[in-house]
């Protein structure tokens, strides 16, 4: 599918995406969707998921092991 600024397309019955502006490598999009739908940048979603798993990974043994490996690595790489 190819679209120009001012043109739009739909996904299902409830979602419409319009290309508002194209400037260089950046595209500005307008999204019309039901309020219940969360719309976030993909990086924000990745960060959210990564934060949740990272917070669960804090374990005193894992931390001690990590510190040990970090120091050993520092000695190897001057």
């Amino acid at each position: 599918m190819k679209r120009r600024a001012g043109e739009s397309f739909t996904i299902g019955d409830d979602i419409e995406i319009e290309v508002l502006e194209v400037a260089g490598t950046r595209v500005k999009l307008g999204i019309r969707a039901p309020d219940s739908m969360l719309i976030v940048r993909k990086e924000a979603r990745i960060t959210r998921e990564e934060n949740i798993t990272a917070a669960r990974s804090l374990d005193p043994e894992a931390v001690a092991d990590l510190v040990h490996r970090l120091w050993r690595q520092t000695k190897i790489t001057p």
């Binding site: 990086e43 924000a44 960060t47 990564e50 934060n51 990272a54 804090l58 490996r69 190897i76």
Partner: protein, 156 residues
Amino acid sequence: MSRILTTYFGELEYADSAVFQFPYGLPGFEKERAFLFVQQPQTEPLMFLQSLGEPGLCFILLPILVADANYKIVLDAEDLAALHFPPDRQPVIGEDILCAAIVHAGDSEQAGPTANLLAPVVVNLKERIGIQVIRADTAYSHRHPIIADKEMAPCS
């Protein structure tokens, strides 16, 4: 002085002036707005970001330049405003800001420990305000390995 009984450090005593405010929380933990940075000699160079609202919530942090000595970040106008910096000058890591990556210590599903270089925690050291900056570029991975493979090579 105030006290908090944390899951990982036991009881922590802190001055109220040592608290860092995260006005937007962190993605996934938007309601947690107040944190302490915890450093201990035995876990250097790691740091910890301990939530004050949730005693069991604590992130492992690694200073970004330890994770990647060449790490570069440019804060956009929105991030600068959130951190109370003027829009016309980029803050310097280590002088104006603390920039650190959230570490995943590793588990059975994920091989080694990794650092999230896609979304570093950035703190205005003077104002004690922090945000998690989510980069829009793809220059850095959200699972950057922090232990080099060659570590496994036997010593000769």
